[in-house]
């Protein structure tokens, strides 16, 4: 009697302890995020204005805004996604649907992607500079920056899409085959829609990394802060702008804070937008429960 009581108390306290630790951990995570946000808001919010968003920087960024920087960032992102998405999703479909999971070829591709995923971004920058800028003669341009980013995004896009496709149960493939659907049609009409949330999640991760990238762009898209006239012009990405302002420009702290605030807001917007997209897609097509 006494013994069971003691055990019950011990369980009770253990339960409480675990609960407290879990809450503490969650609280810490939230606190870190809030701290960053508050810090950014305090340092940069006063500097934000409509003009800041549309003007080009003057005096190395101390004055003016980030209009041209935003345009360059978007262009680099578009080039990167335009090059990486078709390549990555085709590769993922090949790996997940057409190559047996244990085949030598599949292993080789997966292994190369793993290695690629572990390469530091500065190395991508050096490679992009040597290959796109110098060897292909694209120079310091938005195009070489975007293509370098595309290489960097490949592993993450492929692995998320492949995992998403593999998570679709085989019974769907069998049913589709029994209905006379070809493999290609099964992939396009059935498996990709079912795996869409996974694809979207990978896309988000990719965009997040691309927008926040600095080192890979330093030697490829360059740091000219004028409004780019074409994809072959150099253009400075937002993250690079923040880096430059805070490291190389005395008195650039306030615009750096403001730019960082814009960057974080952009990431939040992209996230929310993509979530909405996935949700409406699911409502229309694939409500998984």
């Amino acid at each position: 009697m006494l013994k069971t009581n003691a055990r019950r108390w011990r369980h009770f306290y253990l339960d409480r302890l675990v609960q407290i630790f879990v809450y503490l951990a969650v609280l810490t995570v939230c606190a870190v995020f809030l701290w960053i946000l508050v810090d950014l808001l305090r340092g940069g919010f006063a500097h934000l204005s409509w003009n800041f968003l549309i003007e080009s920087p003057r005096d190395a960024g101390r004055a003016g805004g980030i209009g041209s920087i935003l345009v360059s960032t978007m262009l680099i992102l578009l080039v990167a996604l335009g090059a990486a998405l078709p390549l990555a999703w085709t590769t993922a479909a090949l790996l997940a649907e057409y190559v047996p999971a244990t085949s030598k070829f599949g292993m080789l591709v997966r292994y190369s992607l793993q290695v690629l995923a572990g390469v530091p971004s500065i190395v991508f920058g050096l490679f992009g500079n040597a290959f796109f800028s110098i060897y292909l003669g694209l120079g310091f341009s938005i195009l070489s920056g975007g293509l370098t980013l595309a290489c960097m995004l490949l592993p993450i896009l492929v692995s998320t899409a492949e995992a998403g496709l593999r998570a679709v149960p085989d019974s769907y493939r069998l049913s589709a085959a029994a209905l006379g659907m070809t493999r290609a049609a099964t992939l396009i009409r059935l498996l990709l829609p079912i795996a869409a949330p996974a694809l979207a999640a990978g896309l988000l991760l990719g965009i997040g990394r691309a927008v926040a990238e600095t080192a890979a762009l330093l030697f490829t898209s360059g740091y000219v802060d004028r409004m780019p006239g074409s994809l072959l012009d150099s253009g400075r990405a937002l993250a690079l702008h923040i880096f430059d302002l805070s490291m190389n420009v005395p008195g650039g702290d306030v615009p750096a804070y403001a730019s960082a605030l814009v960057l974080v807001a952009m990431l939040l917007c992209i996230n929310i937008f993509a979530m909405q997209l996935v949700q409406s897609w699911q409502r229309r097509n694939t409500i998984l429960e």
């Binding site: 209905l179 070809t182 409500i287």
Partner: protein
Amino acid sequence: MNPNKPVTAQAISSKEGGFTLGPLQMGPACCDPEPVIEVENLSLRYGDKTALDKVTLDIYRGCITALIGPSGCGKTSFLSAINRLTDLIPNCVIGGHIRVDGQDIHTTESNVQALRQKVGMVFQKPTPFPLSIRRNLSLPLCEYGVTRRSEIDAISEQVLRDVGLWDEVCDRLDTTALALSGGQQQRLCIARALTLRPKILLMDEPCSALDPMASGVVEDLISRLQGHYTIVIVTHNLAQARRIANYAAFFWVKERAAGQLIEFGRCQHIFESPTDPLTAAYINGTRG
């Protein structure tokens, strides 16, 4: 083959919008049996494991043929060979001949898509796609070139009525099929197979994942399909086989051996006066 082929089935075309359960497949189906699937010396191996050995069997048009026998005797393999789902299994080797409507299906020039249009399949576990009910039915149609919305809607409504699901789902065609109950899901799968207007339906234990009520509903549906479709159904429920089937085939597998067809005949004959002692033992529950 029977010389007086049915013309009624062709007379109904989608253009007239007259897709229905339709007329009975030719003639007094079960009194004058005409084989629609002829299986001759079918052997089936997975790698070096033989699953079926020299099965010879005719499936009659418009009838329900029940395949019975213990687990692992090759019933699922037999069904998969008829619509060539075995193609998807890399190490599966097939010997012998299967003719559907007189055409050998395992020759190189035979068309898998045409075969699978003619031979529909329903699986043990209901497998509606995690899409809307409407999309579940339109997907196979798209594949066979039916793209007009009005036509797709008409066919969808017709097959849903055929399986008795229309009244239950007509106001939520655009919601996910996964929200349906198990029995409704299975009937949706049958409806999905019917969209392609198959002649033959293969059913692999269609009721065994369902509760008794839902199972009864699906069983009634299958009985109603008799005569309109040629049905081959695998079932572990002997009472059910007895209730709905016209013919029964008894498969058996010995330890470490291949599955074999032991006995085939009229359902009544198999259940009431089997010739093989193994069949008798299985029917009476003393073996298997």
